[in-house]
């Protein structure tokens, strides 16, 4: 028995185990829950425990949840708020992150390592505490809020004067904190793609009489598009499904979609509706990812042909 087991292990058992164990794990704890969400999204809500019905007196496929996505104002608004906030945060991350990444390629090597470490450092500290840091900064009596209030009162006509700016519990706060927490995800892929560029190209364009900004537009920017897309997806995808940031600093009156899913599930105990919203969010996010991977496959193919 032992000898046969050893023979099996030597022949193909070891590779079966290496593939099989993680495969089985992901089937049970990733694919199965995912299929449950899919199935739940067409189930019917019932007052039983667990709170759903499937077959029997209930319809096998109930599309009421998906229909409500289009008829109930709440869901449409939540989707628009989420996508809007995530899009603005992504663009701002790009506008701040791009010059920072480009600047990192222009500093001396010793400085570069230290600065890169400083970009990564916040990522290793708690996400929750980074959000919390801004709660302290934006509160009504904080030094930051008073500074901004003074600036506002000085810049605007007297009739607009305020005692403090309502920074917290707004989409402004959500976007600001998103930019703060996700900026490293934009800087790092951009830096990786900018670092590989050959400075000789810049110099050649300069020698041919192009102005520095022209060099940036014609030489640097086109070559860094893969980095822009990678960074953009790394910011946009988690930002669109964000739950922690809008719960802590967001406006409860216009919830984001992550909050809606969580509330439908826990407070309303409407598992089918929560699942329908979840599937819709996945569809919206899967599309940009698929476009990206097709684009990447195409550019890899073009590179291979060279």
């Amino acid at each position: 028995m032992g000898a046969r087991l050893a023979a099996w292990f030597h022949r193909k058992g070891w590779s079966d185990l290496i593939i099989g164990l993680p495969y089985l794990w992901l089937l049970i704890f990733f694919l199965l829950p995912f299929l449950i969400v899919l199935a739940m999204s067409v189930a019917t809500r019932t007052p039983t425990a667990p709170p759903f019905g499937y077959g029997g007196e209930n319809p096998v496929v109930n599309l009421a949840g998906y229909a409500r996505l289009f008829t109930d104002d709440l869901y449409l608004r939540a989707f628009l708020t989420s996508l809007g906030n995530a899009a603005v945060a992504t663009v701002l991350c790009l506008l701040i992150g791009y010059p920072m990444a480009l600047g990192l390629t222009r500093v001396s090597k010793g400085w570069r390592n230290i600065l890169l470490m400083l970009v990564i450092l916040p990522f290793w500290t708690s996400f929750l505490l980074r959000v919390y840091a801004w709660m302290g900064m934006m509160g009504k009596n904080s030094w930051f809020n008073r500074l901004l209030t003074d600036a506002w009162n000085w810049l605007t006509p007297e009739g607009w004067a305020v005692t403090s700016l309502p920074l917290m519990h707004s989409n402004f706060a959500v976007v600001l904190v998103m930019v703060y927490t996700y900026l490293p995800f934009m800087i790092l892929p951009l830096y990786a793609s900018l670092e590989r560029l050959d400075p000789a190209l810049d110099e050649a364009a300069m020698d041919l009489g192009t102005r520095p900004f022209g060099v940036f537009l014609d030489v640097t920017l086109p070559q860094s598009i893969p980095g822009i897309i990678a960074g953009g997806l790394l910011v946009f995808i988690p930002a669109a499904g964000e739950l922690v940031i809008p719960t802590l600093v967001g406006d409860a009156g216009s919830p984001m979609i992550g909050r809606v899913i969580s509330d439908e599930f826990t407070s309303a105990r409407d598992w089918p509706m929560a699942s329908s919203v979840a599937v819709a969010l996945l569809v919206i996010m899967v599309i940009p990812t698929m476009i990206y991977s097709r684009y990447q496959a195409k550019s890899d193919g073009a590179e291979a042909q060279k």
Partner: protein, 283 residues
């Protein structure tokens, strides 16, 4: 003639101020005497005292560390296996599904992972009577699942870069395939496995959303404890806790950075040495 890119440097300065001013502000206010977390009332260390005398914080930290240690270790074993499988075995049944299941969790919103896991546990309790109660085990299972794919990504990338000549040489010399894996592949990818473990450990230690869905009564991890306090507003003892976190993580990252740079420098020097001696002995 080389011009200094003043615009880029000023954005860098602004960017780092943006990164660190909120953290510095939090550190300064952790030494604030006043109960009002945003108004300065003089220097004091009383929030550190209240933090250390708080039993809840200690218990939550211990629970978080236990979950992170166990889940990171199992996630590293499973994730490394998956990374090796995807990098080395180019053809096996169901490979497409496998690589899909490895990449999909990376882009899955945490809320959806959370509710899908919770539904799985609730339905399993209904079907097979397990898990009777959610808590340590269910949170650990969830953490293993979402952190193992990060390990896989790191390991797979390292495997695809590595030179297969040594593995092939060992095969030619008559090693069994699994011995090659154990004696040659695993030691070469060890740095990637280690950074995968660290990543899994940090992700587990930091998670709020998935933990909040999969935990049960009485099992409060440190992020969940902070979450429940912070939802009610800014409290000074959280400033103290945050300061300690930044201190511990900062020291750790600096030490790790120094060790990595030194190891890299040594490796380069050794390679140069090896290259030089190999060219010297050539006839």
């Amino acid at each position: 003639m080389k011009r200094r890119p003043w615009f880029l440097f000023s954005v860098l300065v602004f960017g780092f101020a943006f990164f660190y001013v909120p953290i510095l502000s939090m550190i300064v206010y952790s030494f604030n005497e006043s109960r009002l977390a945003t108004v300065w009332g003089g220097f004091s260390t009383k929030w550190y005292v209240s933090l250390f005398s708080n039993r809840q914080v200690g218990a939550a930290l211990l629970l978080s560390l236990q979950i992170a240690l166990i889940s990171a270790t199992i996630a590293t074993i499973l994730g490394t296996m998956a990374g090796i499988a995807l990098a080395r075995f180019t053809r096996f049944r169901g490979r497409t599904l496998f690589s899909g299941m490895v990449t999909a969790p990376l882009v899955m919103p945490e809320v959806i992972t959370g509710i899908s896991m919770l539904m799985l546990f609730l339905l399993m309790a209904d079907w097979i009577g397990w898990p009777g109660q959610r808590g340590f085990t269910t949170v650990t299972l969830a953490h293993i699942t979402f952190s193992m794919v990060f390990v896989t990504t790191v390991v797979q990338a390292r495997m695809l870069q590595s030179d297969r000549a040594i593995e092939e040489a060992a095969m030619d010399l008559g090693s069994r395939p699994w011995q090659v894996m154990w004696d040659i592949t695993l030691p070469t990818i060890f740095p990637a496995i280690l950074s995968g473990w660290l990543l899994a450990f940090t992700i587990s230690l930091d998670d709020v959303v998935i933990t909040s869905f999969t935990t049960g009564p009485g099992n409060t991890t440190l992020p969940l404890l902070i979450w429940s306090k912070v939802k009610l507003g800014v409290t000074p003892d959280i400033n103290a806790l945050a300061t300690l976190t930044v201190l511990v993580v900062g020291t750790g990252v600096v030490i790790a950075g120094l060790i990595l740079t030194r190891a890299e420098r040594r490796r380069l020097a050794e390679e140069r040495q090896a290259f030089r001696s190999s060219t010297d002995t050539r006839p």
